[in-house]
Structure formats: C-alpha cells, structure tokens
Amino acid sequence: MIRSDILKNLIPVISNEFVVCNIGLPSQELHMLDDQPTNFYMLGTMGLSSSIGLGLALVQKQTVIAIDGDGSVLTNFGTLPTIANNVADNFILFIVDNGSYGSTGDQPTYAGKKTSLSKVAEACGCENVIECQASEAADVMKSAIASRKMTIIVCKCESGNIKVPVITMDPVVIRDRFMRELSARSAG
C-alpha cells in the first residue's frame, strides 16, 4: 500500500475531524479525495505540519490530526521533544513513513534506512507512540481518536504516488474556511 491507499482508508475515520495536512502530494491527495472545510492544506513550509497541529491543539478542545511524512519529520526533528513536553491530549500526529521524499521524486530518507522514527519519538519523551502497517492505519487512528490521549502514529508503507492536480485554492480561503468551521463547531 502507498500513501494514497492509506488516505483512502483513513477518510471515513478522519473526514469529520480537523486535519492539518503536510505539503505537496499528501495535501493534494487529501484535497482530491475528500476536500473538507476541516482540512488545512499546507502549500509551503516543509516540516511544520506537526508544529501547526500542536499549536492548534494546545489552544482549543477539538481533536486535531496532523498528517505528516517521514521526510518532513526529519526536516523538523525538533518538533518531537516539543510535542512530548507540551502534551495536548486532543492531538494526533500521523506520520506516513514510506521511507522516501515522495513529493520530490521518491528520493530515499534515512527513516527508510537505519533510523526509526517511532524510537526517536519515544526517546524524545512521547508517551503513546504506535508503529503500524498501512493496512492497520484506519483502526489505529480510530483507537487514537477514541483514547483522547496524545498519540504519535508511525505508519509504515511503500513509497509511490498517484497523479493528482495541484491545489489552486487561495491560501487565505483555505485558512479562513478552516477557522470558520472550527469556530462554529467550538461554539456548538
């Protein structure tokens, strides 16, 4: 299974949740498969999906899922100690670990070699770290949402991409509709 297969399986579970989605193909795939006001698509700034998700989770009560990639976590490794030491139980970091920089042509990452992101997350102090296979992603995500405990999921899968259009939506529109939806649900 590749990332787009995982996203397809996750959609029934996360479609109604607030999702911060990683730059490039992950956002483009999610946008094509299930565009929702609850999705925040990153159009720039590789590596910050987990940081944006953490900031969002810390200041309000709705569940926040940050969809990240192994390459992006490697880019912003400092995020894991920050997450570990600032626990937000409404936060789930879901790392698609396909061992490659998918959006730039599947160049291999160190996470696909000797480096274990789940072990790094644990060493950083993250308490609920689950490494799973692609086929288990939806069930693991369902349990993580239900647990109301901050959870880091490292989902191992194969590298590979499907053809997807770029996102042409204006960034301010993406951000504004996301904020309006969050505000409406938080008031309700």
């Binding site: 159009l43 720039g44 940081s51 944006i52 900031g55 969002l56 810390l58 960034p171």
Partner: protein
C-alpha cells in the same frame, strides 16, 4: 515597573495567550517573566521556524500568540515567514534581540546584524527598532497594529535598549 514586566503586561493587554521562545542572553529576563506569567502559555521551541508553525496553529485555533527570538532567526525563517505567515495572512509579533549593534562583544553577531533590517525590508515586514527604554512605550500600539493587519511585525531590541550585554 521593569521593562520586562512592561513587555509582558503589553502582551497580556493585547490578549496574547501563547508565546514561543528561542533564547538569547539579552532576552533571558523577558523569557523568565513570560514563563512566570499566569496569563501566557510559554512553549519553548527548538528552532524559530518550528515556533512560527506553533504560532500559526494557535492563530487558527482562535488565540493570539507571539515569538521571542534573536535576529539570527530572520536568516533561519525567511521561507516560513513568506510561505506560511504571510501567504496565509497571519499576525505574528516577533520580539527580536538585535544582536551585533553598538556594544556587541561577539564579532560574528555583526555579520547578521548588517543584514537584519535589509532582510526585513525585503520581506515587507513592518519593523520597529527599540533603542531607548522609552521606545517600549509604543509596544502596545505595535501589537495592536499587528493583529489589525494580520502581518508579521518585527520589534528589534538592541543592546542600548537592554542596557548592555
């Protein structure tokens, strides 16, 4: 009231509830006050772009935030300022120690100081320079301005403002 207390009081007055910091010797006092403030959630960052991501998330969650960092961070965060903070039109007060100005003992700091204002100007970031303690009288208005226009705003604070190193 000490200048550090005044800065924190203006943050609180402007409803800033989350502050992320990457330390600098000059900022040690204000970071300590931020950490002690019952009105502010202090979240230290490991790198300034990470902190800007956290601030972006906090803004989308409906809370005002700010970052405290050294001017070297402008070099680190150009891409984040442009493709996250500015591209999505988000406010971000940046309280910045302006290292490398008069009185600086570390020569290397001057290398970044000479680029700091030029970079901020190139990025079209409204920039204010606190040189004397009374310059901090404008902080309240600067923060108000930042949240009014949804832009990153830089407040450079030099060694004279902090009364030496």
């Amino acid at each position: 009231m000490s200048v550090n207390d005044r800065i924190v009081a203006d943050f609180v007055k402007n409803k800033i509830e989350l502050v992320t910091t990457v330390p600098c010797k000059q900022l040690a006092g204000v970071i300590e006050k931020i950490d002690q403030s019952p009105d502010i959630y202090h979240i230290p960052s490991n790198k300034e772009d990470e902190g800007m991501g956290i601030c972006a998330g906090a803004f989308m969650g409906g809370k005002r935030s700010a970052i405290i960092m050294q001017n070297t961070a402008i070099g680190v965060t150009v891409n984040t300022l442009v493709t996250l903070t500015q591209y999505y039109r988000m406010p971000l007060p940046m309280l910045i120690s302006y290292r490398g100005e008069l009185g600086e003992p570390v020569a290397c700091q001057v290398e970044m100081a000479v680029h700091t204002k030029a970079l901020l100007a190139q990025l079209h970031i409204p920039t204010y320079h606190f040189h004397k303690e009374q310059d901090a009288d404008e902080l309240d208005a600067i923060l108000n301005h930042c949240f009014m226009c949804n832009k990153p705003v830089a407040i450079l604070t030099d060694a004279s403002f902090w009364k030496g190193y």
